[in-house]
Symmetry: C2
Subunit: 344 residues, 2 copies
């Protein structure tokens, strides 16, 4: 293993190799233009650089190139940042995909500080990052528009309405929900409830659209009181409470489609509590394919969403926008897959 010299500039390499700094730079970056370098000089420079453990100063390079070679990642503050608030398994997967994209493109990933768009815009203006990746913006409009106003590439990891001129990558929320509800209809269910998330969020309204499309296709009429909204955070206890509310109806549902697996876990608990057998008395479907879903009692039927792939695709799209291989707002919808287990 070569001795690593912490402070070692390209001038040091040039001196040690008996050449000039310009030649060192040309050899290491390969950007000769139309200029060529003798094979002997190139080999000598490479050898010396490796021996001295040379690493180019990132700040100097960024300053010269007017590019940070980095993307900023804006995590959803409300869900992941408060102490005691659990994160969904999706975050780790998103991160994995994003880092994977960064690895293969030589881009660095920087976590954006603060909870308001101002700090993120500062990062852009300060040329600390070349673009921003926003995971699940909650207060969609003002936040995203604030970022777009800075005039830099932005990709949202959540499908956005067409009138917001932003690029995004997401799974097919509508199609996934439709498939889940159609599956229930095919098993003979006519009273299918939907436990949705906070009203007004994009994901929630997309999944409810899929729910309604499936009802239409199956010839089932939409009933207001079969749709209940679980308050944030949409987790296990909220799912249990939502089912209890549904069971108080004069004609309770025989099947429940949940906006998220975590809600479905609560539904399973509350069903057992109420003496209902799953799936005989009540069928349950979730959304996400949380790894815990396969280990519920009974194992949960759900819609699989590829978080890792979405993270990777979103980062790739952002980098394409930065390097202007893609122009203007672009979007990508990833397919989802219905995973049938024993809860239906």
């Amino acid at each position: 293993m070569s001795k690593s010299r912490p402070n070692c500039t390209s001038l040091d390499i040039a001196r040690a190799a008996g050449t000039s700094r310009a030649t060192v730079s040309r050899v290491l970056n390969g950007t000769n233009g139309h200029i060529s370098i003798s094979e002997e000089t190139r080999a000598r420079v490479l050898r010396v650089a490796a021996e001295m453990g040379y690493a180019p100063n990132a700040a100097a390079r960024q300053l010269r190139m007017r590019r940070a070679q980095a993307i900023g990642l804006i995590l959803p503050p409300s869900r992941y940042r408060r102490p005691g608030q659990p994160g969904t398994f999706g975050l780790a997967q998103f991160l994995g995909g994003i880092i994977d994209a960064g690895d293969s493109t030589e881009y660095n990933i920087m976590l954006a500080p603060g909870t308001s768009p101002e700090r993120a815009v500062q990062m852009l203006h300060g040329k600390q990052v070349d673009g921003l990746l926003v995971i699940h913006p909650l207060e969609t409009d003002p936040y995203i528009r604030g970022l777009l106003a800075a005039g830099a590439p932005v990709v949202s990891m959540c499908q956005m309405p067409a009138e917001v001129p932003v690029s995004w990558v997401d799974f097919d929320n509508v199609g996934g929900a439709r498939a889940a509800v159609l599956h229930l209809a095919q098993r003979g269910h006519r009273r299918i409830a939907f436990i949705c998330g906070m009203a007004g969020t994009m994901v929630s309204s997309l999944r409810i659209r899929g729910y309604r499309e499936a009802l239409d296709l199956a010839g089932i009429s939409f009933q207001e009181d079969l749709v209940v909204s679980a308050p944030e955070p949409t987790r296990t206890p909220q799912g249990a409470a939502a089912l209890r509310q549904l069971l108080r109806l004069p004609e309770p549902p025989t099947a429940v489609f949940c906006y998220r697996d975590q809600l479905a876990f609560g539904v399973l608990l509350a069903a057992r509590e109420a003496g209902l057998r799953v799936p005989q008395d009540l069928a349950v479907v979730g959304f996400d394919d949380d790894p815990a879903s396969a280990h519920q009692d009974p194992p949960l039927t759900t819609v699989r969403a590829d978080f890792f792939g979405a993270g990777r695709e979103a980062a790739m799209l952002l980098i394409d926008l930065i390097e202007e291989r893609t122009l203007g707002p672009a979007s990508k919808l990833l397919p989802t897959e219905l995973i049938v287990r024993d809860s239906t």
Copy 2:
């Protein structure tokens, strides 16, 4: 809202304010030395800077100050980066705490690329980050030692053996495990099994130490066959398999302490499958206080670990080392808390 000018240098501010660049820098950074600035000039500069939405160029500042004002975060590749591999809830909490620390100290957080220490060392030498935070190093020795060889501040988020000269922050694994097992002994259990993680990892060996200490204190003799190792990944199915193995013993245990909550979930499933009532026939304790633990059937007794606080403390320690407020390897052990629920 002020019109944000994307490219706007301190020279622009100086010209607009009718002064020089040096004065602008002095006003904005406050570092006058013994020099003072007239109140009128200061106000004019601040107003112009705000109007033009000035953000200092990060690269230029870093180059001048010889400091990146950023820390690198090394995520455990094996657990979080592969597609399909779920992350533990702890990661989101860790990140929350780390970002929180970054917010309050004006440090940025950069995700380290690659899976080998080389790329991380490059980040250090290239002055892209001032220090590294390592989450759960798996192949402890070579990895950490490789980072330390670079001569930069490093903090591990996992307790390390004393002979490795690295700083670390962790919860009290020994104390948490001891408390959990003592709790079982106090409830009258004498045959207490331990389902541990992969042999050789630091966390696993610390928790088994706590287990043995508790047995000693309770006057129970250690029995080899009551300790089973769940293979990686230590999740629900592995927990179920471990319990099945324990139940095949001539004298099966009446209580099980699990290295992680995820394993305990599997134990609960397998117990129900075997017709055992929890806690009457089998008592179960986990470790982590995963948010799902409270919603198991029955709710799981477990050891709460403050991941958010650990992330925050680790980042703070790293920043103290960078700014040389703390010298040499330092370490911090955070307390754990036994949460008694219905599984014991």
